[in-house]
Amino acid sequence: MEILVYGTINSVMLALYALGFAMVYGVSRLPNFAHGALYVLSGFITWSFLNSLGLNYLLSIVLAILATGIIGALIYQFVLIRVRGMEISEIMASYAIGLAILEGLRYGGFKGMTYTLPAFISGSTEIAGVPVDYQRVLVVVIGIAVVALLWLFTRYTRIGLALRGMAQDERAAMMLGIDSDLMAVTAMGFGSMLAALAAILVLPLGNIVVESGYNILILAIAVCVVGGLGSWMGAVLAAFLIGFAQILTVVYLGSHFQMVVALLAIILTLIIKPSGLFGRQKELEERV
């Protein structure tokens, strides 16, 4: 029972980490290696709004999500758009930006001291005999809501449909009058906002540490690769797969193996079925 409850929580957290990455990759084929950095950055922005400016918690959350979205969009508009389509330059540039953000935060005094965000609702409850604090319940509820909203967004709004069109066939989308660059910037903005949302939901459970940026990036890549790069629903299913696998290994082998599972999942998936579990259309393209 414990495995079931905590597996679900872990899976939803993984899905939250990965959705932003999956969205950016799906729309503009950009493996956004700055994803983890944006995640940590939004945590620090929220903390600064809350403690340095003394804003209300809800207001600072909303502002932080917007600010991260804008930062993401600016990074794309001014840097990454110039290397669009050159895969290696994209990886290098986005990774370097992520590195600059993370190490800049570390230099800027965010070290030594522990930075924590308060939980939305403190206290805990019991689900089927397993004690769970309210923040974790909230993560699951909001996480499921985000996935549902995203599904509605990509099917029933103009921007969402345009993004989906870009993801399916960029040329056809451009022929139908969709501005490909603008959509790529939008996707990066939304992707960063999703990273920020994940950060704000998950970070109250622990400290804000710079190192977690790298782990989040690996986890996001793991989920997206297993689910099939570019497939959003695949990412959600893969999150559950990896989430439960992680919890099982933690219970039976020890907590050291948590990251090993994610890394092994990436390597095995790419070796056995590089298009992932649910990405079908690109299988021939990626293999010789």
Binding site: E103, I267, I271
Partner: protein, 339 residues
């Protein structure tokens, strides 16, 4: 970009001497011979003299480390621009080579002169074997999987507490003295540099570039793509393992930090800055970047920020790199023409 008042554009023309040197007539005169040989001789002489003129032992060590990074950078450049496999896993090669050399030295008691070649060959084979299933992957997929290998191995060593766990393996022999260490690495580096330059112009180099540009055509010619890719990976990973083995003997220590991202990122940064696809460029890039990063050591993690920003700037504004720029200036002259 400013447009000159009249309708002008810049025209680049090959120097006459360059055109003559392209053919066998280069052997006809001293002037042309020296035109071809001079840049190479400057490089070789510079590399051999530099350790003698640097001010202190500390900078000598920095120069040695730069050479080790240069080996990795050449391996990356070769794999990325002549075979089309972009490997972000330089640390994987360093780690395998380093741990093999460390084990051979501490458990079997072999001297560095045996462990380095052993680690190079065995490590190259091991890396090739481990990467073999990933060879059909291309582009971003190979990049991601190669980035994950070193992280995975580091976590496994940490989790299982094998090979010294987080403490690493200590008590490894060093080279007999620092001059031997220095010149051994410089000679190896120069040999490999010119060797790889020769290799990519031989028949096998042609096949490898064919694999990069159009692997279906290679397969249609009845040549095994996987075989040539694995040969290339063996060469590149052997270079990486060699640098790892040297590093272990210099530091007299081998640990998880051999799998650190530094060994994957700095060589790539050096390649981008030095000029990708030139093979000399990465060496030049390392000789610039590694000392700069030592100078900035006082600034702590800010140097990584600085580093990353330089890298982004180069990728975006000067993606050709210093060496390509230099070669253009050497071989061509420019003039404004009206049209």
């Amino acid at each position: 970009m400013t447009i000159p008042s009249e309708q002008q554009r810049k025209e680049r023309i090959d120097r006459g001497i360059k055109v003559r040197c392209d053919s066998i007539y280069a052997m006809m005169s001293h002037r042309e011979l020296s035109y071809l040989a001079l840049p190479r001789l400057i490089l070789i002489a510079g590399m051999l003299i530099l350790p003698l003129v640097v001010p202190s032992m500390y900078w000598q060590r920095v120069f040695t480390i730069s050479c080790i990074y240069a080996l990795l950078a050449i391996s990356f450049d070769f794999l990325a621009h002549y075979v089309g496999l972009v490997s972000l896993g330089g640390a994987f090669f360093v780690g395998i080579g380093g741990y093999l050399a460390a084990m051979a030295n501490t458990s079997l008691g072999l001297s560095p002169w045996l462990t380095v070649p052993l680690a190079t060959l065995v490590g190259g084979g091991l890396c090739t074997l481990l990467l073999l299933p990933c060879l059909p992957l291309r582009g971003v997929y190979f990049a991601i999987v190669s980035l994950m290998y070193p992280l995975f191995l580091a976590r496994v060593i940490e989790a299982l507490d094998i090979l010294g766990g987080t403490d690493g393996i200590m008590g490894i022999d060093s080279f007999s003295n620092r001059w031997v260490e220095q010149y051994f690495i410089i000679c190896i580096l120069l040999l490999i540099l010119f060797g790889v330059r020769r290799l990519v112009n031989m028949d096998i180099g042609l096949v490898l570039r064919g694999v990069k540009d159009n692997d279906q055509a290679i397969r249609a010619s009845g040549i095994s793509v996987t075989f040539y890719k694995s040969v290339a990976v063996f060469l590149a990973s052997a270079m990486g393992c060699l640098s790892g083995a040297c590093l272990v003997h210099i530091y007299m220590w081998s640990g998880i930090s051999l799998f650190a991202l530094d060994f994957s990122i700095i060589p790539i940064a050096a390649t981008v800055i030095g000029g990708s696809g030139t093979l000399v460029g990465p060496l030049l890039g390392c000789l610039i970047l590694v000392p700069i990063s030592e100078l900035l050591r006082d600034f702590g993690t800010l140097r990584i920020v600085f580093y990353a920003l330089i890298l982004v700037a180069f990728i975006i504004f000067r993606s050709e790199g210093l060496m390509v720029y230099g070669q253009r200036k050497y071989h061509q002259f420019e003039r404004w023409i009206k049209f």
